[in-house]
Symmetry: C2
Subunit: 451 residues, 2 copies
């Protein structure tokens, strides 16, 4: 058995040949983690090298990096470069009312923010970072067509030549997204749970261009939201002073907007202040350039097959994008997997089992929260009860920062396991709903503990 030498406190531990399937955000970060520990890493990606493409097709939904994602980047030395130097901090939501008026709702305490980062920039940077390790080998245009995961064997088909390559690894890591091919191979094993749920909403991306002076057309350090009940629009700032705008709407409503006239009338009725920012001509051409994309939530388990294969990120737990935690949870997977492997001194079997067992309830918790926020974001943000709860939460949090942590804060600005965030919230709701009035337990903490 080969052992590791000269790498990050792992000397003498077994050296593993790892095949990572999927060169997106989570796959590339995972490659960095395994490489840092001195393992032999092969990264297989279906598409061509994203750095050589002029135009990257497909989904974007701008990314909001928060504490979990940042912590995972930090451990491989990428947080400062990718987030602090490149990301645009957003300290609050900026709500756009129908009449064009706006108001902001902070995400947390004064200095707490999430960062808007471009997906392409992040993916390219992570690829380049991974390739800097001499023990990382990238293989592009490789499509997984079959696998015997129990044996760590995979067959790839090179695109477009269809040349076949047989690959063997001691550990296969599937980081190939919501429609994961590795997961499909895993599901052929007995006793695998799986669920996929589509929501009635689809999404479509639009763009607010930079102003002619090269500045942002709206206040920059906010995540802008136009909540409209059955549908919702959001905008995240880009480095080039443009905005990525995403419209979430039921598919049948999208279907009704079938002419430029109907589209413009709809926007002028529901998002009047956004129309001049996007521009009518650009709105029409961008809107009709592509079809709305579906949104799916995926849960499954276990995440591993014995000591030879594991899925992480969206492959294991794709979620709807309404809590901004999809990428953060995927990055956290990388960090936690590294920690559990280290704990078991790279005895892969027990490590994968522990990862799957402990991570699954947390991943399912955040999938559930994201689904819940799907309703909250487009609807509750406008309701008085939501705003009052936010204010009470903030007040309690400032009085008892370690005891009373609002749900959004624990999810976004802490490392508390996601399932614990929910339990914490349930306890808070229970306290809130006791028959004592809120004033009572605010002024008497001892009573608080007993309730």
């Amino acid at each position: 058995m080969e052992t590791i030498t000269g790498a990050n406190g792992c000397d003498g531990f077994p050296k593993i040949k790892v095949a990572i399937v999927g060169g997106g955000l989570v796959g590339t970060l995972s490659a960095c983690y395994f490489a840092k520990r001195g393992h032999e890493v092969h990264l297989y990606e279906l598409r061509p090298d994203i750095r050589e493409l002029e135009h990257v097709p497909g989904r974007s939904i701008n990314l909001a990096l928060s504490v979990r994602g940042r912590a995972a980047l930090k451990e491989v030395g990428l947080e400062e470069q990718l987030v602090q130097r490149h990301g645009i901090p957003m300290y609050a939501r900026m709500i756009h009312e129908l009449d064009g008026s706006t108001r902001s709702i902070p995400y947390g305490k004064k200095d707490q923010c999430i960062y808007s980062v471009g997906r392409r920039f992040l993916n390219e940077s992570l690829l380049t970072a991974a390739e800097k390790y001499p023990n990382v080998h990238c293989h592009f245009n490789q499509k997984l067509v079959s696998a015997n995961l129990k044996q760590g064997q995979m067959t790839f088909e090179r695109q477009p030549s269809k040349e076949i390559e047989q690959v063997e690894a001691q550990l296969v890591v599937g980081a190939d997204g919501a429609f994961s091919s590795v997961r499909k191979q895993m599901m052929k094993q007995p006793l695998c749970d799986f669920s996929q749920t589509y929501i009635p909403h689809g999404y479509l991306e639009l763009c607010i261009p930079a102003l002619s002076d090269g500045t942002h057309a709206m206040p920059k350090n906010y995540l802008h939201i136009w909540p409209r009940g059955r549908f919702m629009m959001i905008a995240l700032p880009n480095q080039d002073a443009s905005w990525t705008v995403t419209l979430f709407m039921p598919f049948d409503e999208f279907g009704k907007l079938d002419t430029p006239q109907r589209l413009l009338a709809f926007f002028k009725e529901h998002f009047p202040d956004a129309v001049p920012l996007i521009g009518e001509e650009k709105l029409v051409s961008d809107f009709f350039a592509c079809k709305p994309s579906p949104l799916v939530s995926v849960k499954c388990g276990p995440y591993n097959i014995g000591d030879t294969a594991l899925i992480i990120g969206d492959a294991a737990h794709a979620m709807v994008p309404f809590y901004g935690q999809g990428m953060n949870a995927g990055f956290e997977d990388c960090r936690l997997l590294d920690a559990v492997l280290l704990k078991h001194k790279f005895d892969v079997g027990p490590a994968l089992k522990e990862f799957s067992t402990t991570r699954r309830p947390d991943a399912e918790a955040i999938c559930g929260l994201a689904m819940y926020n799907y309703v909250e974001m487009r609807d509750l943000v406008n309701r008085k009860s939501f705003l009052i709860r936010k204010k009470v939460d903030s007040l309690l949090h400032s009085l008892m920062p370690n005891l009373w942590i609002p749900l959004y804060t624990s999810v976004t600005f802490s490392h508390m396991p996601y399932a614990q965030c929910i339990k914490n919230k349930e306890w808070q709701d229970k306290v809130r709903h006791t028959k004592q009035n809120q004033h009572d337990y605010l002024i008497n903490k001892r009573q608080f503990y007993r309730s």
Copy 2:
């Protein structure tokens, strides 16, 4: 367009070429329904003709026919022959305690019973009944390998010759069970929800043989249950005076019983009264003859693709077997599908859409109830609170037969939509938990309505 002549009130309606995939219980019954209405029916079954097989491999879990299944058989004229003449009525559960003592808990009112029927007998009889229609054509040894369901096109591979046959139909009905191939083809369409959940328990079949005088070794008109908390055994009577015994247990517990000594010690500790009935030698040989099988719960939706394809029975909603409703729900699918097609005068598109929309919440309700009973049967049957609730339920039911229907009664002995059964139960629980004591609302019905 060809129209129907001379069939059951459908004259003048369009005549449809229907391909039913799956010749099990639900597929064959569905064939009878379509045939009765005068359509052209082709039934495709993967296995050979079951009537020509000496031994049928695979699962059994004896079947308990209740009101829903019987009603569906009745409409094609098969209820008397298959249930009343062949089935063995079971009026109560017979609980076996550790010390060998027994007590019975009735299923409903005095004359209410469920019927134990053999799977093979039922399947063979349904096949023969279907083939009596001149417009039914059975095709055995046909494996579905691919399909374009939107076009009603399917490719079958004949077993074992692998000869390929292309088939086209106006309507494809997938009745091919929990691991349905038709469903797999449907899931390639966008926006299909799907979930499969395995429970930690597996099952294994054993047998209590008939006594030497040809009679049953236990009181015959009962479903016998040995509830033991983490595991459970049940026995259903067969026509030949034997009993089909099913042991439900977590897979890891099965794994521990790896020698005849351990197996016998386990049975003598937990099912002492059953050991002499099964016989030690037979227990050992039957137990080690096959591996325990997994139990899966499947939900998905929609059930249809446009006006060309539909899934029914386990293909649409496989459930764990603990409510005895899997086959009953599948048979009810056939009856409801026929009714909705008739209502729409065989305008297939709107009929399939209505079936999928209305049936799905009910199917998911019974899947949920079956999962809930998974806990209740092996555990709660032994708890005092369960018995007290049963008694109170029976009392209330006898006083107000149309108003207070216990959950088990509405599921098993009525046609109330499953989702409604649950709502009904939730209302009852609410009533039960009001602070008034039960005596109060028993003697004053008006108060009851207001609560």
